[in-house]
Amino acid sequence: MNKSIFALSLFVVGMSLAACGGTSTPTKVPATSLATALPQAATAEATNEATKEASAAATKEATVKATTKATMAATMEATAESTMAATKEATAKSTTAPTKEPTAKSTTSVKVEKTAESVAVAMATAEVAATAAPMMATAESTAAAPNMVSTWKCPTGFSGQTLSVYNWADYIGETTVRDFEKLCGVKVNYEFFENNEQVISRLRQGNPGYDVIFANTYAIQIMIRDGLLEKIDLSKIPNFKNISPRWLNMSQDPKNEYSVPYLWGSIGVAYDKTKVKTPITSWNDVFNYDGPVAWQEDQRAMMGVALKMLDYSNSSTDPKEINEAKDFLIKNSKNVKVIAADDGQALLERGEVDIAIEYSGDIYQLGVTCKCDKYVYTIPKEGSVADMAAALIPKDALNAALGHAFIDYLNDPVVAAQIVNFVAYGTTNQAAIDSGIIPKDMLNNSAVFLDAATLKTMYFTEDVAAAEQSYNDAWDELKINIGK
């Protein structure tokens, strides 16, 4: 009896050890980051606290006082003075991209200015904002004294109503929704979804009451085809004119009857430049790299890249071409360690892979979190997938009129710029780019905005309807045969 217990225990131990052998290496805690990050973290803590207190105090003040109309001249002056004080304190040229602080600062100035306080108060705000300034790099752009005050007025008659919005997480400014609630006197139910398929399936079950939703281009195509969206009345969205023509009249909605462009981003190659010695310029560099690489769990993106490398359309519906793309990917998958379900940036950070195919915003976030510049985001010369998200109004929305007002609000230049400053994705709103509120190094950051030449090489994912199953099958086969 005891012998058999012993044997059984050994067997169990043996099996568990065998199972462990197949798993990946455990998480490494980078020793260097501990030492160097601590002082940085301490200052970050202090500035976080200062800004939090400042914004808390200022917003409390603003909500107590009635929002009276402030003359533009006085506001401009006050803003100019406060930003001048800030620039004096601001450290020159920092390489790290700005964090949330700029948004907090601009909203505190906005709130106080709106109540037409004296310049002395504005100076006080500027001082508080200035103490938070070490994190900012807005020296050049604010010197031009852009209009930081959002002049958007809410149409009357919405007070007391409720708006329901369905969007990705962290895809809107920090205070955007709260400001909208205050401006219109409404309550906003704001909910997160994970991916486009979730939006489509939710709407197909019957709209549970969302007024405004967001989705990418190919999902918009599917939803229009299935009749899940309501037509948007552009006369209720005067700020529509701010949107850059480059993002209008796209193939999924040629007359922009259903969608209003919002933000755009790209999938590109992110790598740790301390490990990858030669800069990546082509997809072949990624495929031939001698080290661990992570691909993206985005079927259409990866297949699109492969199709393009073979000179086919990235949204091809020809099963033969799709198969060739799948074989191309399998052939080039020797160094693939994992197909990351949107956590490629985490793998990079932990050092488990040297190269990751990731979304632009994730890599930008990574740079901000690690407060370092060893991660490079680049688009290979053959081009890559870009995608645009647009605001939509689904059928059976409970409050479509308020939804229109919200979309109009999002396209106000100041609001759109503040959104960009927070989420670090490219905006489709040209007026926001021209407003000067977005710092120069973000406008030049390839993880956020792409220059015109690179933009030309980008391609969009389109709906493939009938061929959807071919893509699914190809993707499944790829996952089974990867690395072989």
């Binding site: 005891n2 050994l10 997160f192 994970e194 950070e349």
Partner: protein, 302 residues
């Protein structure tokens, strides 16, 4: 050692084969390995959770690399809970926790009442079809949650269509649908726990009460109910924990403005998982563990 273990030779006699005689090596090695396997098993199960708890103290927005120790995230939660301004995502997180608690409370109350009734009728009652009810009760425990979620979603869709056609009211999923969904699977768990407690109870006590002239109602409230109480509370705590943690069924049934915490965290995965989530999860872990612990203690009391 030899005294505490069954001595084969003494039992089977001197005719035993050498291989059958007691060998202390196997005994001790067996125990040691068993102990090792148990510890290793616990570690395997708890290590990821411990990692979650550790990173809730991470001094950085990242949950992948350790940057130092801080209580910052817990402070965030408590300051948001006490009404101060906080980050947008944080305030939505707290709203979802409140939603979770609301759903949990109502689902627990309803499920406990119904579950107790079912348990009583199964143990004390005699009616045709009792066997089938017994089997049906186990279904929500056995059926995969995804099946339950999808079928409930379709069921509610039918109901809403019916209401729409017959009264013109445009019914929408909301707290009602989520609570009903939770009650559906919670009834089973409560009934199982209360049944266990009832089975332990001596039916003679109730018979004695009847003999002494008490009515059915009096018997129930004065004898059965107080004796069942630990079981009912245990079942209620279990139901509350299950309701708080439930993701799949809630995901399929939620409407607008009814996001519970697990569904909320799921929505965050694509963009950012900050240690905020770790902190809230740690707190929920502590609460759930305490509740389950109390539930188990109550079940074991005589």
């Amino acid at each position: 050692m030899a005294n505490t273990v069954l001595n084969r030779t003494a039992v089977l006699g001197a005719e035993t084969q050498p291989s059958q005689r007691y060998n202390p090596f196997y005994d001790q090695a067996g125990r040691a390995t068993f102990w090792f396997v148990s510890v290793a098993g616990y570690f395997f199960l708890w290590a990821p959770i411990m990692l979650l708890v550790v990173f809730s103290f991470n001094n950085s927005r990242s949950v992948n690399a350790w940057h130092g120790f801080t209580f910052h995230w817990y402070e965030n939660i408590f300051s948001t809970a006490t009404g101060n301004e906080s980050s947008f995502t944080n305030s939505l997180l707290m709203t979802s926790v409140v939603n979770s608690l609301i759903v949990g409370f109502f689902a627990t109350v309803i499920a406990t009442i119904l579950g107790t009734m079912v348990a009583l009728s199964l143990v004390r009652g005699h009616f045709p079809g009792k066997k089938y009810l017994d089997g049906l009760l186990l279904l929500p425990v056995i059926i995969p949650e995804i099946t339950q979620g999808v079928s409930l979603a379709m069921f509610f869709r039918l109901i809403y269509d019916f209401i729409d056609r017959s009264t013109g009211l445009h019914a929408l999923p909301g707290f009602g649908s989520i609570i009903i969904g939770h009650v559906v699977f919670n009834i089973s768990y409560v009934a199982i726990v209360v049944r266990a407690r009832l089975a332990d109870m001596n039916p003679r006590l109730e018979e004695a009460a009847y003999d002494l002239g008490a009515t059915g109602w009096q018997t129930f409230w004065r004898i059965t109910f107080p004796l069942m109480m630990p079981g009912i509370v245990a079942g209620a705590l279990l139901a509350f924990t299950l309701s708080l943690d439930d993701f799949v069924v809630t995901f399929f049934l939620s409407g607008v403005g009814t996001t519970t915490m697990p569904v909320f965290v799921y929505g965050l995965i694509k963009k950012t998982v900050t240690p905020d989530i770790n902190a809230v999860s740690t707190l929920m872990l502590i609460v759930s563990t305490m509740l389950i612990g109390i539930s188990l203690l109550l079940q074991n009391r005589k």
